[in-house]
Symmetry: C2
Amino acid sequence: METRTAPADPEVLTSNLRVALDGRFGPIRDAAREYLNRADLLPDPALTLEEARARSLRIMRDLVPHGLPHAGFRKEHGGTGDVGAAIVGIEMLGYADLSLMVKAGVQWGLFGGAIENLGTAAHHEQYVVPLINLDVLGCFGMTETGHGSNVQALQTIATYDSQTGDFVLNSVGSLARKDYIGGAAEHATVAAVFAQLVTGGPGEEATGRGVHCFVVPIRSADGKDLPGITTSDCGHKGGLAGVDNGRIVFDNVRVPRANLLNRYADVAQDGSYSSPIENENKRFFTMLGTLIRGRVSVAATSGAAARKALTIASRYALVRKQFDTPDSDDEVIIADYLVHQRKLLPLIARSYALAFAQNELTEELHEVQTADEVDADRQRQLESAAAGLKAMTSWHAQHAITVCREACGGAGYLDANQLTILRRDIDVFTTFEGDNTVLTQLVAKELLSAYAEDVRGLNAVGWTRFIAGMARDVILERSAARQVIQTILDSSDEDVEESDLSNRGTQLRLLRNREDHLLRTAATRMQRAQSDDEDPFEVFNSAQDHILKVGSAHTERVVLEAFIEAIDSCDSKSAQELLEKLCDLFVYSALEADLSWFLMHRHVSTERAKAIRRGVNQLCEELRPHLRTLVDAFGIPEALLATEMIPDN
Amino acid sequence: METRTAPADPEVLTSNLRVALDGRFGPIRDAAREYLNRADLLPDPALTLEEARARSLRIMRDLVPHGLPHAGFRKEHGGTGDVGAAIVGIEMLGYADLSLMVKAGVQWGLFGGAIENLGTAAHHEQYVVPLINLDVLGCFGMTETGHGSNVQALQTIATYDSQTGDFVLNSVGSLARKDYIGGAAEHATVAAVFAQLVTGGPGEEATGRGVHCFVVPIRSADGKDLPGITTSDCGHKGGLAGVDNGRIVFDNVRVPRANLLNRYADVAQDGSYSSPIENENKRFFTMLGTLIRGRVSVAATSGAAARKALTIASRYALVRKQFDTPDSDDEVIIADYLVHQRKLLPLIARSYALAFAQNELTEELHEVQTADEVDADRQRQLESAAAGLKAMTSWHAQHAITVCREACGGAGYLDANQLTILRRDIDVFTTFEGDNTVLTQLVAKELLSAYAEDVRGLNAVGWTRFIAGMARDVILERSAARQVIQTILDSSDEDVEESDLSNRGTQLRLLRNREDHLLRTAATRMQRAQSDDEDPFEVFNSAQDHILKVGSAHTERVVLEAFIEAIDSCDSKSAQELLEKLCDLFVYSALEADLSWFLMHRHVSTERAKAIRRGVNQLCEELRPHLRTLVDAFGIPEALLATEMIPDN
């Protein structure tokens, strides 16, 4: 067996890789590394629900002085106005405790974000500083038992009463209760409540104006439900013990007119409704769009959770031995088995890829949200990118943590070694901030409709009819590739079959061609709905798996481009070389995972398919000596990696 | 949209499907359904560890009068000698609480099994009845921190002291501590301890005789560690809160000579060692082979857990609605979305397949273990079949429960709805009773070595050299197919490409040809190790992914054959028709999951590959009206399916 030699200076290499991974957020990450390097931040599975919840809140109070919450709010409201730093701060919390991340995300990201983005001056003045400082604890009352993905169909009603100048909130039917709301079980005293607004001006019939957001006090300072409010506790969950998820039911709850978060729509004293955005659908999606940070944070934190699990499992793989080595008394280090390498290394490569894509997404969010003017197109693209990456990264994390747990055997199953806690806590990341299947479909729908304005909010039938009526070339129009990608494409052979698979241009073309092919054929299938003989719902439904694949293929292509961009930006030659190899492994294993598609559509020959499988093995072997370096470069604070896997001898 | 019509009489159909699923164990399952139909058997996530553990033990005491434990022991020892019933009883516990199943499995299956199968008359007399009645609580001290898969290398040493007639047990080094041992943290007072026996007769040097099992008291009645014993608690785990896993360290612990479980080897007063099985390796594997029940139970229970999750998720899919239906005020039932069908139905089909295969495995275990004489070949095949099915079913369960949780969205994340508890508890089923990767590899190694006696216990190098030296036709020799399979093969076209994919013979040939191809090519790769230029470890390691695939392809083929056999044995025409369709979906989705292999090796054309994908969609649509029937037929006691998913209106 070949002797493994470590690279010349793994410490320098680690540090250079870390610079690449940190991207533009290096200083923010380093600061977070410093204040998060405390083992007492790790979740404690021995706590009762009540204790775990109290603990999250206590740690949040500790974090306030570090400026973590301030970054997410504009200077004029009492924050520091660094959106990127806010996301990265939340992401870094994921290395410590996902309950903490979620509870912080609910308070500062969702509740705070609703106040900041949907409210106006009076709301900002009343709430922003107190909510930053945790003098006001809020929750985000959007999801209902009966409606999660279909927010436009919420069944909480807010009817304006011009006699008293109040909104009257009611939960209509048992499916209308607000459900799974973080903070609603115990700590929150105020809720940002999404409800159907019903109002009419003088002489006008009161009519539904669509979903709007209201600030609604729900509890007194001593924790009692206010009149008309009934909260209850979701109790024990799959994980996230430190988050007090609960339900809220409204029975004729009155709040003053001023409690409408009225940035995008207002109700006058006399009940007249006004909005700068005339189209109800557009207004709804504009409001929702301002809340995009939650989704971006969930994507970012999922990536962090996967990296932590991979670090723990890789360290274990490097010390755990099993079955004897030939010609020696010792046993084989499990990281030396091909099958073990195949478990961990492709996931590590993918974690790098997703981290680079996440940095780009966070940067883009920062740009869009700190710009003087809203760029509607960029906002739309951002939302789609966030949806795609959130789905891809949270699925990746769920899978990676499962694999890591198993790769650590019995030791992996002990909470003391953290992987089980990570697995429990991450599970719902595939659901909240948008069900992953629905989000992936959303990416595809946006691509297929070429981001057409009028398509949002259409049901399956309406959407299918819309696509059926579109010109094909509209669907396939694509924005220009960024410079580095264009250069690679220009210098590579267009004939993919003829060109080397290890060539980055070939790899790019494979992923781009897959996306184009899927998009084109999905459009063709939708166009059947033009015919009167076809039921548009059936046309949509029978192609639904195809449509989903459009979404994931698109996101994977974008992720590869982010990886390539990150390699291009890397200053260190040795780090760059390692990243190139890692990028190869990302591509080869992505191709391998979808090989049947590439073969079926003749984008890859059977000979090439075999070369891809061999390539994954070969790259695993080449990257094996760097395993420790690769995970150390994630830069997870050492105190947060505490395990009891291997006892001291 | 087409109106879904329910089949003529779903109740009769359900009942007939249940008869098919229950197989030969119908009456035992029905009895268990009756005494398990109590919601108070469900795990309670609010309990502390200590409470949860005490509760499992209390429920076990309730179960004793139902005769559950008695089935696993021979009549002459105080049991009822129905091995099949013992396994099915344990499997059914999985519908209630996996902690209960594991704790019962440790006491009656592992500890009891060691006493029953490795002990002799004195041990049977002393322990069997008390352990059935829970007057003696035992644990199974095999795994150590440093050795799980490689049991032959355990580092607990039992040295015989002929002066005193004692064995002296020591944990040699920190990796030698017994770890993850169910019962060791709290309840067990006695352990069946696996240790390296060191002894020598008069004038003979004391030498290692390999791993043997000893009965070792570890705790006093009041729960204190006995002298020389140090137990500790594994604490909180990923799940299985009701099982008190712990560690045991031995420091000069003395037990009398009689405490060696001496069915397969004995030590005389003077230290002389004797065994009816001369070969140490053979002796080790014979002893281990008698303990096969644990693995069979874990496979069986994994199947039960998957079925329960699929039942809960399917019921939810049939009431939950989201996004509006065209031309109606109502919303679409999520079970009507193709992508949702694709999540649940192929897993249901696979659950049927695995249930049929499990029935065969349990039956075979019963036959082998209740026969008058040991049939070594059958025992060997049984062990391989158990390894393969345990790995396949526990991975299936882990995956299916994850999908089900996600398919129920936020509701799925609440412990009240059980899926999260199932997911936490099932996680380690892929690890205990044999790591799934190691087990799958074991299946392949047995096939590749044609079950040769001398191959067991060889390390990678030794094994590779052995295979390299074998004749190819030995490897490919296969036992005759059973009657129903042979008939199907005889009446189907040998040319797979030319024959209809919906033909069962074609389907069988596809899975058989895959297995043969993998086996043949794996053998060819191993034969490279004949050359002096090749490092046998490298030859083995570079083919490890290929070898694993041999194992899973083999098991999947066996599972299909069990499905076919079950259809053939089904008396009801309408149930048979539905099973045929379900079997198609099992095959189509199995082919789809491995489509790249079939394409790459030209066992399937690109056109056929596309037909397979379309076929899965088509079968999902055809089976959709039967969704409720299909899961109801699992026959899970209604009280154990309690959820709070949809509130009353």
